[in-house]
C-alpha cells in the first residue's frame, strides 16, 4: 500500500488533537500521580509537600491493604478467565457454526450491551439473585429448597457474576474480530487430516486468533480491576476492591496513599499490556487496515 500524504505537516495536524487531549487529560495526570505518590502528606494543608518518601508504599503493606489488592487481582483473574471460557465457545459458535443472517444478528446482540448502562445491568442482578429474586422464587416454587439461598446476593459470588455479566461482551467482540482473519480452509484441512473439533480449535483456531483472544482477556482484566459498581451494588458488607479502597482513602484526603494504590494498579496493567503485546501482538488486530 502507499501513503496518500506527501508532507508531514498534514499528518502532524491530523494527529495533534488526540495527542493534545490524551497527553493533557490522561498521560500527564497519570505521570503526576506516579510522582506524587512518593511525596509526603502534609497534615497542615491537607495536601502534599515535595519531600520524597516511600511511606505511602509502606502503608499499603502495613495496614492490610495488600490483601485487598491481592483479592482484587484474584477476583479479576477468576472473572476474566471465566469470561474467556464461556465467551470463546460462544464466539466460535457465532462465527464458525452459525452463519449468515443469524450470525450478524448475534453479533449485534453482543454489541448492544456496550451501549446500555453498566450500572443498570449490574443493578438488575439484585432482582435475579436476591432473597425474593427470580432464582430463589423459582427454586422455592419448585420445592427444590425450603428457604431462600442467602449467599446468592451480597457475596463474592454475586460480585463475580456481576463482573462476568458486565464484561462478557468485551471478550466476545475482539474474538469475533480476530476470527474474521482465520481462513476456513485451514479448519477444513485440519478436519480432513483427522483432527476432531476440539483438536482443530486447539491447534488452529486459538493460535490464529491469539491477538483478539489476548486483547479481550486483557481488556476484561483491566475493567475488572477498575470496577467499583459491582462491588458496591452486589458485594457483601465487608467486601472491598481496589477502587473502593481508593474512594475510602480519598474520604480522609490521604492523597499519597490513594496515589500509590493507583500507581500500583496502573503499573500492573501496564506490565501486562506490554508483555502481552510482545507475545500476542494484539495491536495487529487492525494491522491490515490501510488505503
Amino acid at each position: 500500500m502507499y501513503q496518500y500524504l506527501r508532507n508531514n505537516y498534514t499528518l502532524l495536524l491530523l494527529s495533534s488533537p488526540s495527542i493534545v487531549i490524551l497527553f493533557s487529560l490522561s498521560i500527564i495526570p497519570l505521570i503526576l500521580i506516579l510522582v506524587w505518590s512518593f511525596w509526603t502528606w502534609d497534615p497542615i494543608t491537607y495536601w502534599i509537600k515535595p519531600i520524597l518518601t516511600l511511606n505511602s508504599y509502606f502503608d499499603i503493606f502495613s495496614t492490610g491493604r495488600i490483601e485487598v489488592l491481592i483479592r482484587t487481582l484474584v477476583l479479576s483473574f477468576i472473572a476474566s478467565t471465566t469470561c474467556l471460557i464461556i465467551g470463546f465457545p460462544a464466539a466460535y459458535c457465532i462465527h464458525f457454526i452459525i452463519k449468515g443472517r443469524l450470525s450478524i444478528i448475534l453479533l449485534m446482540l453482543f454489541t448492544i450491551p456496550f451501549l446500555t448502562s453498566h450500572l443498570i445491568r449490574t443493578f438488575s442482578w439484585r432482582l435475579i439473585l436476591g432473597r425474593t429474586g427470580l432464582i430463589n422464587n423459582l427454586l422455592m416454587s419448585n420445592n427444590l429448597v425450603d428457604e431462600p439461598i442467602e449467599w446468592l446476593l451480597f457475596s463474592d459470588f454475586a460480585v463475580g457474576v456481576g463482573l462476568i455479566a458486565s464484561y462478557l461482551p468485551f471478550v466476545i467482540f475482539p474474538l469475533l474480530l480476530s476470527f474474521r482473519k482465520v481462513d476456513e480452509n485451514y479448519l477444513r484441512a485440519s478436519s480432513d487430516l483427522g483432527a476432531n473439533l476440539f483438536r482443530t480449535i486447539y491447534s488452529v483456531v486459538i493460535p490464529l486468533s491469539m491477538p483478539g483472544l489476548f486483547a479481550g482477556y486483557m481488556f476484561v482484566f483491566a475493567m475488572c480491576m477498575g470496577s467499583s459498581t459491582e462491588v458496591q451494588l452486589l458485594g457483601g458488607a465487608a467486601a472491598s476492591m481496589l477502587t473502593i479502597m481508593i474512594n475510602d482513602v480519598m474520604r480522609v484526603v490521604n492523597f499519597p496513599l490513594a496515589f500509590s494504590i493507583s500507581t500500583f494498579s496502573i503499573i500492573v496493567l501496564f506490565i501486562l499490556l506490554i508483555i502481552g503485546n510482545r507475545f500476542f501482538k494484539f495491536d495487529s488486530l487492525f494491522k491490515d487496515f490501510s488505503w
Partner: protein, 257 residues
C-alpha cells in the same frame, strides 16, 4: 453432533447472562405494585415512569448528562476521525499510535477520574460539565476511533487511488469521497460515544460539580432504598439505548444496500 451442543450451550448461556437481568428489570418497571415481580397484564402501568419524571433533581441530572454526552460525542467523533486518518498514514509508527489511542481504555475509570480531578484542582479549573467531558472523552475516544477506523478501512482503495489520479488533493478527496462514504460510520460513532458518555459512572464521580450526572443520581437512589422509580429509570435508559441501537442498525443496513 455432540460437540456442537457444547458451543450452542455456551452461546445461550452468554446471551442469558447478558440479557436476562435487564429484561427482567424492564418488565418489572411496568408493574404497578411496590413488590417487584413480573406484572400480570392487568397490572401494567406507567405509574413509576410518571413518578420518576416528577422528581426535580432527576431532571436536572438528566439535563446535565445530556449536555455532557452531546459535547463529548461531538469532540470524540471529530478527534477520532482525525486520529484514524493519521493511523492510515503512519507506517512503522502505526502500532504505537494504535496503543497510544486506546491506552486510556485500560486505565481504571476511578483512577482516571481521580487524577484528572487533582490536576483540575491544581490549575484551578472548577468542576463543571466540561470537566466531566474531559473524563468521558478518555473513555469514548478509543471506541469512536475503532468504529471510524473500521469504516475507513472498508472503503475500496481504488476509489481513493482514482481520486488522486484525477488530481484531487487530500482535502478534496476527504470532502468528496471519504466523508460521504463513511458518513453512516460517523453517525454511529456519534451515537456510540453519546451513549457511552451518558451511561458512564466511574469517571464522573470525582469530576462532578454542582449538578450530578444521571448515572450518579441513579446510583444514589439505587443505594438509598427500593422505590420502584429506580426500575423506571433503568427501564427508560434501556429503552433509549435500544432505540439508538436500532437506529445504528438501520443506518448500516441502508449503507449496505
Amino acid at each position: 453432533m455432540n460437540s456442537r451442543f457444547f458451543f450452542y450451550f455456551c452461546l445461550i448461556l452468554c446471551l442469558s447472562i447478558v440479557y436476562l437481568p435487564p429484561i427482567y428489570l424492564l418488565l418489572i418497571s411496568f408493574n404497578e405494585n411496590i413488590q417487584p415481580g413480573i406484572p400480570s397484564l392487568g397490572d401494567l402501568s406507567l405509574k413509576w415512569y410518571f413518578k420518576m419524571l416528577s422528581q426535580k433533581r432527576l431532571i436536572t441530572s438528566l439535563n446535565q448528562s445530556i449536555k455532557v454526552a452531546s459535547i463529548t460525542c461531538i469532540i470524540s467523533s471529530v478527534v477520532a476521525f482525525f486520529s484514524a486518518l493519521a493511523y492510515l498514514e503512519y507506517r512503522n509508527f502505526r502500532s504505537k499510535w494504535f496503543l497510544f489511542i486506546i491506552f486510556s481504555m485500560f486505565v481504571p475509570g476511578v483512577i482516571q477520574g481521580l487524577s484528572l480531578s487533582v490536576i483540575f484542582k491544581i490549575v484551578e479549573i472548577k468542576p463543571s460539565a466540561m470537566t466531566i467531558v474531559g473524563g468521558h472523552l478518555l473513555w469514548t475516544l478509543p471506541f469512536a476511533f475503532t468504529i471510524i477506523l473500521t469504516n475507513l478501512s472498508n472503503i475500496n482503495k481504488n476509489i481513493i487511488l482514482a481520486s488522486r489520479d484525477l488530481g484531487a488533493n487530500y482535502l478534496i478527496t476527504l470532502r468528496k469521497i471519504v466523508i460521504p462514504l463513511i458518513f453512516p460510520g460517523i453517525i454511529s460513532s456519534f451515537i456510540f460515544s453519546f451513549l457511552l458518555s451518558f451511561n458512564e459512572y466511574n469517571r464522573a464521580v470525582y469530576l462532578v460539580g454542582r449538578y450530578n450526572t444521571f448515572p450518579i443520581y441513579m446510583f444514589g437512589s439505587m443505594n438509598a432504598g427500593t422505590s420502584p422509580t429506580v426500575y423506571a429509570m433503568g427501564g427508560s435508559t434501556l429503552i433509549l439505548s435500544f432505540v439508538a441501537i436500532f437506529f445504528i442498525i438501520y443506518l448500516t443496513k441502508k449503507k449496505n444496500k
